[in-house]
Amino acid sequence: MLPRTIGRAVILLAVEAFFFILFAAFMKTYETGKVIAFLLFFIGLGVMFKEWEKARLALTGLFKEMKILAGAGFVAMLLTLPFIFQSSPYLIHICVMAGLFAILALGLNFQLGSTNVVNFATAASYGIGAYASALLAVHFHISFWLGLLVGGSLASLFGLLLGIPCMKTKDYYLSLVTIAFGLIIYILLNNFSWTGGPNGIPNIPPPSLFGHSFKEPLSLFGYQLPFQSNYYYLIFLLVGGSLVVAHRLHHSRVGLTWNAIREDEIAARCHGIDVTWYKILAFCIDAFFGGVAGTVYSHYIGFISPENFAFIVSVVVVTMVILGGMDNVFGVIIGAILLTILPEKFRAFEDFRVLIYGLIVVTMLMFRPQGLFPQKMRIYKKES
């Protein structure tokens, strides 16, 4: 029995390592031709996985059986990423951005995915978090860690503010309110003098931890890692935290309630669910995630301007949720990672980036509305 378990564990880790090496190799390719070849290979793998039932069942069974080992191996591999990309800080930067967008998409998923409330104001909460912590840090020298909390809370407060008029409205009206709110925040950021207007806020100090500034290279185990790695590990922790929160929420009473509201609001109300409260809760949690992501972004880049928080950012995050699969926590993260990395890999087509986002959304909605990774059916274990 034991040798068999060890054998299976080795297979599992080998599969993970294989995918990890593939990913690293993909990140390190720069020529468009090779990138396309890689993509075709990935698509081929996906199709094979879908068609070859025996292999799929075996693999999913393997992963289900050794959940903890699979998770641990995955985490360990992700932690070594900065060592692999040691010579190219740009790649680590892409990973940090992917993580930031993953947090945003996870936040939006509570609304768009779980509750079916459309919100085109993600950029607003992202921007409020970024500006709040940046202003605090620049003018009052408040540390990043406190700013993280303040940025998140302030964004959450604005989420509440936005949520109240939204509760009176539904569907189209609601999306109009959120679009209008996003545009209002953008216009205000552009015109207030204390936010720096269109010039934004420069020279935002980097965070520091135990006297180690995040602007300095990180030395670990005798390796000198580029300064982006600091943020990589920070983002890694934050995404991990968000993932746990999202996962727990999804499997809690709250997540179930949100799903009930999505399926039928009137029926939910009839069952004694306080629809207003739960919808506002979704708004606040989404905004908190946005605020946290914004705070990290502002301190990471060191410079923010209203352009970073334009309407398009909201649409991009919506795209990520739809592409990944609504209400599927892992799917959403993969959607965010895909939509951050792919545009960077196709730098040659930089101009077409937004166009392609739009086309992806329209075609996905038409041909695969459930996203790449459809939401899983809730299964409750039988008491026995």
Partner: protein, 307 residues
């Protein structure tokens, strides 16, 4: 006093533009219960279409060949028809597949479609991100009337809008297709049972709405002398806001809503000190106010949710 009159004229003009966009939103909502979020971009597309057609006409020498009062209406009419056809095409390709899908789908799809339209316009013009100069197709003279400066092109814009809107009302009230449009907006299923071709009626609705929207785009271009690819986003949101304030689905409401929005913006810019950069904020606050206290709009019927 003259100042107030001057602003009144500006407000009326702005109101006309919003009304034209809002009519489209109302027509589509009536016909399909759908909000076409890329409608604003279709409207601006009308202006860009005029720009392209004007360039073509210049190449062919039509600009000097035909007298202005023949050429300009011809130009605008062609742009209108083309934009109307594009709107119908969008309905066929992007909106119709979602007719029986959840609301969210068509909503997100049309927002994304708007993005596609904007980017296509941006990429198909050289230096598309910069404002494009709109040809001066209207006479540029102006005259003084009791201390108020009136631009001749504003008068033409105003007259055209009133003419077009009344034509549209006549069309909807008096013709067979107009009756079909009204029937479909009242009850789609009952209309289908009476033998009305729903798909064709919806297509006609989109043709009319988009063509009127094209006029709005041209008005914006002619009044400001420039157009930019991303004007459609704001235009669409404002047009939709006007439709909501007036009562979504009610075509008359579009006029009231458009005028209210136009007045709020113009007077906020003129009479609130330092308010000019914040005009859009005031407009949106009015809309949010309406949504909270009178969600059905001024002329809209109250809709009860059926179980």
């Amino acid at each position: 006093m003259a100042e107030i009159f001057q602003q009144l004229i500006n407000a009326l003009l702005l109101g006309c533009t919003y009304t034209l966009i809002a009519i489209g939103f109302n027509l589509f909502f009536g016909a399909l219960n759908v909000v076409h979020f890329s409608h604003g971009d279709v409207c601006i597309l009308g202006a860009f279409m005029t720009l392209i057609l004007y360039g073509l006409a210049k190449l062919l020498g039509l600009v000097t060949f035909l007298p202005g009062f023949v050429f300009v209406p011809l130009l605008i009419l062609t742009a209108m028809i083309l934009t109307g056809l594009i709107g119908t095409f969008f309905e066929r390709v992007v909106i119709r597949p979602f007719r029986y899908a959840p609301l969210l789908m068509v909503l997100v799809a049309t927002v994304a479609l708007g993005m596609v339209v904007r980017e296509t316009v941006r990429l198909s013009f050289p230096h598309g991100s910069n404002p494009q100069i709109f040809p001066r197709i209207l006479p540029q003279t102006s005259f003084q009337l009791g201390g108020v400066l009136i631009r001749l092109d504003s008068l033409i814009i105003f007259g055209t809008t009133i003419f077009l809107i009344s034509m549209m009302f006549l069309f909807i009230k008096r013709t067979r297709i107009g009756a079909a449009i009204r029937a479909v907006s009242q009850d789609t299923e009952a209309a289908a049972m009476m033998g009305i071709n729903i798909d064709r009626t919806v297509a006609v609705t989109f043709l009319i709405g988009s063509a009127l929207g094209a006029i709005a785009g041209i008005l914006i271009g002619a009044y400001n002398n420039i157009i930019r690819f991303d004007m459609g986003l704001m235009g669409g949101v404002k047009g939709f806001s006007a439709a909501v304030v007036g009562g979504l689905g009610n075509v008359y409401g579009a006029i009231i809503g458009g005028l209210i929005l136009g007045f709020v913006e113009t007077f906020a810019a003129a009479f609130i000190p330092g308010g000019t950069p914040y005009t859009d904020v005031f407009a949106f606050l009015v809309v949010i106010f309406f949504l909270i206290f009178k969600p059905s709009g001024i002329l809209g019927e109250k809709v009860y949710e059926k179980v």
